[in-house]
Amino acid sequence: MSVAAQIGDVSFAHPGADLPSLDRVSLTVSQGESVALLGASGAGKTTLLTLLDGRLRDWRGRVSVLGMPLDPDNAPPRARRADTGFVFQEFALVERSTVLRNVLNGRLGRMPSLRAFVGSPSSLDLEAARIALVDCGIADLAERRVDSLSGGQRQRVAIARCLAQEPRLILADEPVSSLDPARAAEILALLTEAARARGATVLFSSHQPDLARRFSDRIVGMKGGRIVFDGGVADLGDAATSDLYRETVTVPGIDLRAVN
């Protein structure tokens, strides 16, 4: 089985922070896997996903994504960034643009620079956007402005943008934490199903162990910047789950919410 992402002994501290956000982390994710990342607030989930997305600088260790090593000092080239898709917790859409425009934004990394600047999509780009819209069930919203949509609809747009990118690795940072339980399950089903159909690897973080179990093959648990659990869905019992959230919950007077 080929490897989608490999992290070897990576450490990282945010500028000005005393404690590392990633503390000698090692992790290998195989192509086609669906991995859920669990852990209390501040455990380092966002940091880990940002690292794999090539947007973190000044870390130590070794990282390779889709067979290519990442450089701690420089952003990956445009074409390689397009191979990794990212779904943001707060959607990160351009509110005043239409749904279609937002989904086409996912194609920018696939376009030559001038075409990307002008924003004139090729028929290939339009086709990728159309398929993504249909798969996310929002083809009828294409011409609506994003600021007129509900949270669930917005996350569908964000996922459609990610799918239009045709990524081989999909990173999703708490993609459903701002949605109601029914919507959350719907969106996670949509995301993991679309990824499976495309043979893409998924790594998503979540605060909902039940959803994580339902929509992944493997659970990775983080705590204080370290990986403290790594196993199949069946291996994560209730005790292990509560253990993940224990220490950080009982530290009094310290706000561990991450600044995203």
Binding site: D53, G54, R55, A75, R78, A79, R80, R81, A82, T84, G85, F86, F88, E90, F91, A92, L93, V94, E95, R96, S97, R101, N105, G106, R107, L108, G109, R110, S113, A116, F117, V118, G119, A158, R161, Q165
Partner: protein
């Protein structure tokens, strides 16, 4: 608390000192001050009734002022787009935006009328020095506004496009521009209104526009004609404001 009381005492002394200094050193005798009221009343009396025969001059001067404001604003927009980008934290590093911001602050510190006088000296009388002066002066504010508009946008969509593989200019075009467009439209209209207002007086220093006639008529004691032109200026300012209010409503 204590130092605060001391501070306001110091401010009080400073203000009192400034007022006393002004009164003592200004060379105005009490008699002239007392007679100023009646003189002004007399002057205003000679302005009435305004002479309506200067309609042609008003139209000609007003049109030229409008042209100066339009072309000056256009020039300011052209200058402010690159300078605004270079003055924004989002687009460039501190080594670039710091000196650019200082340059813009410097430009803002020079009053328009002064720039216009210098330009009249440089390129001669007429609307051209006015246009150059307006473009230069307005850039100090407009480029700053544009930079603030760029920096005021939400960062998340920019990160999303970066993640998708968009380069800096594509991010500017597709993540930053759609967010800042209404702000830019509002700021530009606002600056155009200021340009139009401020260029009404440019003619006084010979830089073209309707102000030229006010200056000419006052100098030649034709106060009734000066009154007509002044009234026209007031009407124009009110019209500009009404237009601006209407336009602003459209860009939300």
């Amino acid at each position: 608390m204590r130092s605060r009381g001391l501070g306001s005492f110091a401010v009080g002394v400073l203000v009192a000192g400034a007022v006393v200094w002004s009164i003592v050193t200004t060379d105005v005798e009490l008699s002239r001050l007392l007679s100023a009221g009646p003189r002004i009343a007399d002057f205003l009396g000679r302005m009435l009734p305004p002479d309506p025969t200067v309609v042609d001059e008003i139209i000609k001067g007003g049109a030229e002022t409008l042209r100066i404001a339009i072309l000056g604003s256009l020039g300011a927009v052209f200058l402010s787009v690159p300078l605004g980008i270079l003055a924004s934290e989002t687009m460039v590093s501190p080594a670039i935006y710091r000196p650019i911001r200082m340059l813009l602050a410097f430009i803002r510190a020079i009053p328009l009328i002064l720039v216009a006088m210098l330009m009249v000296g440089a390129v001669g009388l007429g609307p051209l020095p006015g246009i150059i002066a307006v473009a230069f002066h307005a850039t100090g504010m407009l480029a700053k506004f544009y930079a603030e508009a760029i920096d005021g946008v939400s960062r998340a969509p920019i990160s999303a496009l970066e993640s998708a593989g968009a380069g800096p200019l594509a991010r500017l075009r597709h993540a930053i521009w759609p967010q800042m467009a209404p702000v830019v439209a509002r700021d530009t209209i606002f600056r155009f209104e200021l340009n139009l207002r401020e260029s009404l007086v440019l003619g006084i220093v010979g830089a073209g526009g309707i102000g030229f006639y006010i200056q000419t008529y006052v100098r030649s004691f034709q106060y009734d004609k000066a009154a007509s032109v002044t009234l026209a200026v007031i009407v124009m300012v009110i019209a500009i404001e009404a237009l601006n209010v209407a336009l602003r409503r459209r860009f939300r």
